[in-house]
């Protein structure tokens, strides 16, 4: 499927969404489905509470990222629907952002009532996510080749043999060496910033 055009060929149940995210199969279609079905609702949370459309785009992206991470780490509990989970994540992220901006708006915004059971999980997840967000930039500083190899291995779930068919390396050993160097460089960058390292470590411990 072309990445430049959106094609939602079928609907997804919550279970199918979780499957698509966990297995990384049809992830693009699942994300397209979420955007087409839930974005307007999520956007409204921001727009109705002093946010702009740009704010909405950023916050919804972050909420989706937190949700994907939560699902992939098995921390999503299906008793809360995907829709309500996204709603709560978006609401909390926006509340955090408003607090960060020092807006008085947050007092009016803090919700009409329910303290649902997913609240604590989300707070934990948010702290974890906040830490992880900081290091996404570190990954971007790696070269394209490194990013590609590491993504194929750790995100797409391809074996080294399968990756070899996708990249231009003589043999699997050379590819393994390259992957080792890439990962070493990434770790070096993480280690180079003690603040970043400690924040991330704390977040990982909190999130696991």
């Amino acid at each position: 499927m072309s990445k430049t055009s959106i094609r939602v060929e079928k609907g997804f149940s919550d279970q199918e969404l979780v499957m698509a995210i966990t297995s990384n199969k049809d992830l693009d279609k699942a994300l397209d489905f979420i955007y087409r079905n839930y974005y307007k609702m999520l956007e409204t949370i921001i727009l109705n509470n002093s946010g702009s459309q740009e704010d909405a785009q950023d916050i919804v992206q972050e909420a989706l990222l937190a949700f994907l991470d939560m699902v992939r780490k098995g921390k999503y509990r299906s008793e809360a629907s995907v829709k309500s989970m996204l709603y709560t994540l978006t609401r909390n992220l926006w509340l955090t952002e408003l607090r960060r901006r020092g807006s008085a708006q947050k007092r009016d915004f803090y919700f009409e009532g329910e303290k649902d059971s997913i609240e604590k999980d989300i707070t934990d997840q948010m702290a974890y996510y906040e830490g992880l967000k900081l290091v996404a930039e570190v990954f971007d500083r790696l070269g394209e080749i490194c990013k590609n190899i590491l993504t194929l291995f750790y995100f797409e779930g391809f074996s080294m043999k399968e990756i070899l068919e996708k990249v231009d390396y003589e043999n699997e050993q050379v590819l393994r060496n390259k992957k080792y160097k890439c990962q070493k460089e990434l770790m070096r960058q993480l280690e180079a910033s003690p603040t970043l390292y400690n924040n991330l470590k704390s977040a990982l411990e909190h999130g696991r």
Binding site: I6, L31, V135, K147, Y180, L186, L190, L204
Partner: protein, 254 residues
């Protein structure tokens, strides 16, 4: 940690995290991690790097989805425009159909006689108290609608004025003698060469009606179009676009 050692450990870390180590190897690695704080720290850093890769990849996937969605939303705008255009076209098509239907109806029903009837109004000579005593004989006859006598008396006049020609023309029209009326109106124009012209615009209009009744449609159309184009013409409002269309329809039929 030097490279060879690290390389081996990293491969074992991957297998361990994927659950691909056999139980003995797994136990061995766990013992090493438990007993070696440096190795443990390296392992934590390793896991952290994997988290970074996964998070960054997810971030890219979400950003791509956002871009596709934005593109999709933008593509809806032209759809709306197209829809609006479609509606506009439908309305235009409807109007066109109405116009065509109207045209067909007009084509079927319009005749020079019916058009003439819709345009003709009997000419009323100006009647004011101050002028009553000065009415000429023809005026008087015309006011009494004695059109035959108007024409008879007109013929007897040795010296005919513009006014006489005009009253005679109007009387001829009333009697359905359109060719005679045309001749009289032409006399009006012929004599009306001075600085002050009498009955000039009345003549334009009634002469055009005579052409119409006489089936000289091209001349009628030309005359009425001139009146319609001239906003200050006395009969400008009497000639509508519909009149012109009907005349054109008559011409097509002809």
């Amino acid at each position: 940690m030097e490279d060879n050692r690290a390389f081996n450990y990293y491969n074992r870390f991957d297998d361990y995290l994927k659950g691909e180590l056999d139980p003995a190897e797994r136990k061995k690695l766990e013992e090493e991690l438990f007993n070696d704080s440096e190795l443990q720290k390296e392992f934590e850093l390793y896991k952290m790097s994997i988290d970074v890769v996964q998070l960054a990849s997810m971030k890219n996937a979400v950003e791509e989805a956002q871009r596709r969605f934005t593109h999709y939303e933008a593509s809806l705008a032209p759809t709306v425009t197209t829809s609006a255009r479609t509606w506009a076209l439908r309305v235009a098509a409807g109007l066109l159909l109405l116009m065509v239907s109207y045209g067909v109806l007009q084509f079927a029903l319009v005749s020079s006689g019916s058009l003439y009837q819709s345009l003709y109004t009997a000419y009323q000579l100006p009647v004011t108290r101050g002028y009553q005593l000065n009415y000429t004989h023809l005026d008087s006859l015309y006011l009494h609608q004695d059109y035959d006598t108007v024409l008879a008396q007109y013929e007897k006049l040795t010296k005919k004025t513009v006014r006489d020609h005009f009253i005679a023309a109007m009387a001829a029209m009333e009697l359905g003698q359109y060719s005679a009326a045309i001749d009289r109106f032409k006399e009006v124009r012929k004599q009306n060469q001075g600085e002050v012209r009498y009955f000039e615009q009345e003549t334009d209009y009634y002469l055009a009606l005579c052409y119409l009744k006489n089936e000289d449609l091209k001349q009628a159309l030309y005359s009425l179009q001139k009146i319609k184009e001239n906003e200050s013409h006395l009969y400008h409002t009497a000639v509508s676009s519909e009149t012109i269309i009907k005349l054109q329809v008559l011409l097509w039929k002809q």
